[in-house]
């Protein structure tokens, strides 16, 4: 199975955490909250499209209430394989970081 890219992981985690409130701009907000990076709408939609195509995300369109604007709003949620992929990614993270000493990340001058 193909590994997820970091961006994809972030997206999936954001959608997952938003639960049933995961729609476009909220996903973007969540990511900003999590990572401090703000994506453009173009990147947002493209990544969502990619994830949908890979079968990790499914979108559902709902009509929202009149006082909320009365628009069509698309909600995203993780599919089973999405969950699976996320778990795999987490495991992989775990594995590759295991036993790696923190001091190895220290800057050279800090060491000295």
């Amino acid at each position: 199975m193909k590994t997820l890219s970091m961006n994809e992981q972030i997206f999936l985690i954001a959608i997952c955490r938003l639960d049933d409130k995961a729609y476009g701009i909220r996903v973007r907000d969540k990511i900003a909250e999590m990572t401090g990076k703000t994506f453009t709408f173009g990147t947002l939609y493209n990544t969502l499209d990619n994830l949908t195509k890979k079968g990790f995300v499914i979108s559902k369109s709902r009509q929202i209430l009149k006082q909320a604007g009365g628009n069509r709003r698309v909600y995203y949620s993780l599919t089973l394989s999405g969950h699976e992929a996320l778990r795999e990614a987490w495991k992989l993270q775990e594995t590759i970081w295991k036993g790696f000493p923190e001091f190895a990340l220290k800057k050279r001058d800090e060491l000295a």
């Binding site: 973007r28 709408f41 173009g42």
Partner: protein, 865 residues
């Protein structure tokens, strides 16, 4: 947070976003952007939010259009590929379609360029809408006509009394002037005598000098650039002296050449003070001298001004006109109307313009009908494609789009061919309409717009119906091969063929009638001999007899006479009154001629005698009338006219002349006008033309002899000659041109209909191959089958003829009313047209009919399917 509080994002931007969202994605872009908008609004204000929102929508729109174009291109490819393949597979139909459309478009372009040019006449004047020309409507005795000339003192009076006229100028034009540039002689047209307001009405561009010098110094002249270059090359002409009609003029300046689309042509301008006419004559309201133009003030309406000045001549000279019961009324014509529909100028070209425009449209229709006919007839070949497209989900609008795109493709390729055609035939067309169009005339913006419009129109006109028919095909039937023949007998197709042939018939009838009338005029007995007459303009004083005898020394010159005007163009007319009981006054045309004139031209004298060379009393006093003159003066017979005295007025003086003879009527003004009253006088001092009768053989030697005699006798500076019969034919040149134009377009219409019929018959016979095979097996003969195939087309041609005849008859009888002497429209022209139409149809249909009729039935029945 996501409560949508007002104000909302800008509406147009929101619309763009909503549209793209609907069409392109399955995300809720609109909703997301709305929320983002609300946030920005709360944080940074409405304006910033709007700016952001707009930028988002624009980025999206650009993205959308880029990806959209890619898709549209792919779809177009999908539409055009089968169109192209089909075109290649059915070479004959495609060729017919493209050639037909190309010829139609080429005609359309040429006619548009011409009509556009003709309508642009005099539009170059600043404020052309405020410039008018005076015309005088004269009623005196037997004559009632509108002259383009105005009473001599008119412009001065307008300047004095009518402040509505911002500028008023008198323009006297002089043609055929003799120019002497350093001893070299030229004949030129277009010398205008103008006053100072001319420069305010016409926008003359100066290359050197100015109007002030011209107006302030006597005997000065302005010259166009073209002529300055012709006479002086690159040297500076200003200040040089040239002689015009043996009078020296100093060149005061150089002006830009007269625009070609100007009704008033000029090459030289000089002040009106140089015009040699007595001041009494220039002050006389009864004299019409030169044209008068006014430029009205912006607030003045042309009608009001015309109404106010209508009887201005009578206000100044009422008693004089009342005495004679003449009326002189002014008419004002807008300068832009002068070229095409002036009431005063000869030749109402507007008819030609209308006619041409209609013909252009009709030819386009013929070409479009061909396209529709062929496209619907061959629909069967596309049935499977359409059916398959429908099966895989094409909607009807898609199919209509596809076939319209196909037609546009055909029209565009036809356009390329048409442009080539136009470039090729432009020289011929120029000769036909006597204009000088260049290829870059096609690049004007209005021509380009017109071409674009043409393509669009053709696409809709020619592609509309076939696309409806083709998109209607039922897929199940078509795929099961149960699609019919497309109905080669469809009503619409018959209607189209009939209409095509109605157009063809009208054009052929018109062409035949025009040429018939021209032939009639050329061959009609004019009442005098006009063959082998050589006309030479000369300066004769009282030495005509001596000059004639010198020329007669050559044995190939059998006769000579002298005259003031040329036969066929006798237009000098003077009012004349009969003296005695029951006096009457009329306007009569006059010719001055010597005693040899009447016998040389073999004009029969019905009473009295010719002038006598030996009778001094004949000079200036004896008068020979024609029968029409005798008739209007009310004398019962030519004999009774002899000895009567006629008083005529000319330029202030009265003359009394005795009638000594009467000639039979002859056409002294050509055949367009009825024969009017004419008087011939013997006044040697006024002779300006030598009429020689020459033998047809040795014509070159004779001409050489005449020329050498000419210089030997010092008869003038420039030798020129013409043959009288050719001059007469030139009178009909305009009609001849109209005829040729009609002939050319009739030919094109015939060609196009032939093309259509040829293609259609090919298709129809192909459809009926099996039927014909079976008929042959059962014993049908070749002629029978020929009849079977061509019967339908022949019937349609006959119907078209019957429909077209009344229309053609009405049109042509109106046109013939322009001629005093005209042919009667009889059956022969119509019968001939029917014959031609039939022949055309048979030739077009015959090839395929014959091919299928003579083919072996075994071949056509061999295949089952």
């Amino acid at each position: 947070m996501n409560s949508p509080e007002f104000p909302r994002p800008p509406r147009p931007a929101a619309r763009i976003i909503r549209r793209i969202e609907r069409r392109r994605t399955n995300h809720s872009i609109h909703d997301d952007l709305l929320e983002a908008f609300t946030r920005i609004r709360e944080r940074r204000g409405y304006a910033a939010a709007c700016l952001w929102y707009w930028s988002q929508s624009l980025v999206l729109a650009i993205y959308e259009s880029v990806t959209g174009a890619k898709w549209r291109f792919l779809i177009m490819q999908n539409y055009l590929k089968p169109a192209f393949r089909n075109a290649v597979r059915q070479k004959r139909y495609s060729l017919i379609n493209v050639i037909g459309l190309a010829v139609g478009i080429a005609c359309g372009i040429l006619i548009f360029v011409y009509v556009n040019y003709e309508l642009s006449y005099d539009a170059y004047h600043p404020d052309a809408g405020r410039i008018y020309r005076a015309a005088t409507h004269l009623k005196m005795y037997n004559s009632d006509f509108i002259s383009a000339d105005a009473p001599a003192p008119l412009s001065a009076a307008l300047k004095r009394e009518y402040p509505e006229a911002e500028y008023a100028c008198q323009v006297i034009s002089s043609n055929q002037i003799l120019l002497d540039v350093d001893g070299k002689y030229f004949r030129e047209d277009g010398l205008l005598f103008v006053d100072k307001d001319f420069f305010d009405i016409w926008s003359i561009e100066f290359r050197a000098g100015g109007s002030l010098e011209l107006l302030n110094r006597p005997s000065t002249l302005l010259l166009t650039e073209t002529l300055a270059h012709k006479y002086f090359g690159s040297s500076d002409p200003v200040g040089k002296i040239i002689q015009i009609n043996r009078r020296p003029f100093e060149i005061a300046g150089i002006i830009k050449a007269c625009p070609p689309n100007s009704h008033l042509r000029y090459q030289f301008l000089t002040s009106i003070s140089n015009y040699e006419e007595s001041s009494e004559n220039m002050a006389e309201w009864a004299n019409l001298i030169g044209q008068v133009f006014v430029k009205l003030r912006p607030s003045v309406s042309g009608e009001d001004f015309a109404e106010k000045t209508r009887s201005i001549a009578h206000q100044h000279r009422g008693d004089y006109f009342r005495q004679r019961s003449w009326t002189y009324e002014l008419l004002w014509e807008p300068i832009r109307s002068l070229h095409l529909h002036s009431r005063a100028d000869a030749g109402n070209n507007m008819v030609v313009i209308y006619g041409l425009s209609v013909i252009g449209v009709l030819i386009l229709f013929v070409a479009c009908f061909n396209f529709v006919n062929l496209a619907t007839a061959t629909a069967v070949t596309r049935a499977k494609e359409v059916a398959l497209r429908k099966v895989v989900g094409a909607e009807r609008t898609h199919l209509i789009q596809q076939f319209l795109a196909e037609t546009a493709f055909f029209a565009a390729s036809a356009l390329l061919l048409a442009v080539l055609l136009v470039i090729l035939v432009l020289p011929v067309f120029n000769r036909l309409v006597e204009r000088q169009f260049r290829v870059n005339a096609l690049l004007q913006s209005n021509v380009l717009f017109y071409v674009l419009f043409l393509i669009l129109m053709i696409t809709v006109l020619a592609g509309g119906y076939p696309s409806l028919v083709l998109s209607r095909i039922k897929p199940a039937a078509a795929l099961a091969n149960r699609f019919g023949s497309g109905g080669y007998r469809s009503i619409l197709r018959r209607v189209f063929i009939t209409v095509q042939f109605v157009i063809v018939t009208v054009l052929i009838v018109s062409t035949l009638t025009i040429f018939h009338q021209i032939g009639y005029m050329k061959n009609r007995n004019l009442g005098f001999e006009n063959k082998q007459k050589l006309i030479i303009p000369v300066r004769l004083t009282n030495n005509a007899d001596f000059v004639k005898s010198e020329f007669l020394k050559n044995p190939d010159i059998s006769g000579a006479s002298a005259s003031f005007q040329i036969l066929g163009r006798i237009f000098i007319a003077v009012t004349s009154r009969s003296i005695g009981e029951d006096p009457k006054e009329f306007v009569i045309a006059y010719e001055y001629a010597d005693p040899d004139f009447i016998p040389e031209y073999k004009i029969p004298i019905v009473a009295g005698r010719n002038f006598d060379k030996n009778l001094g009393s004949d000079v200036g006093r004896a008068l020979i009338l024609n029968e029409s003159a005798v008739k209007i003066f009310g004398w019962d017979s030519p004999q009774k006219a002899l000895g009567k005295v006629i008083e005529s007025h000319g330029f202030g003086a009265s003359f009394y002349r005795t009638v000594i003879g009467v000639t039979r009527d002859f056409h002294f003004q050509g055949l367009q006008r009825p024969i009017g009253p004419l008087g011939i006088l013997y006044v040697p001092a006024r002779f300006r033309f030598l009429n020689l009768t020459v033998r047809a053989d040795h014509i070159h030697e004779t001409l050489a002899f005449i020329q050498s005699k000419w210089s030997e006798l010092h008869l003038g500076e420039i030798f020129s000659y013409s043959f009288l019969d050719e001059r007469f034919n030139q009178l009909y040149a305009a009609d001849q041109r109209t005829g040729q134009i009609f002939a050319a377009f009739a030919f094109l219409a015939v060609f196009l209909s032939c093309l259509g019929l040829y293609g259609l018959s090919a298709f129809v016979t192909m459809q009926r191959t099996k039927e014909i095979g079976i008929r042959k097996v059962l014993g049908a003969t070749v002629p029978k089958i020929l009849g079977l195939v061509s019967r339908e087309f022949v019937g349609l041609v006959a119907l078209a003829n019957i429909l077209a005849w009344p229309w053609a008859y009405w049109m042509m009888s109106r046109w013939l009313k322009n001629y005093a002497y005209r042919i009667t429209l009889d059956g022969t022209v119509f019968a001939l047209t029917f014959g031609i139409g039939l022949l055309i149809a048979l030739i077009a249909v015959g090839y395929h009919a014959l091919k299928s009729a003579t083919s072996n039935p075994v071949d056509s029945l061999k295949y089952y399917g």
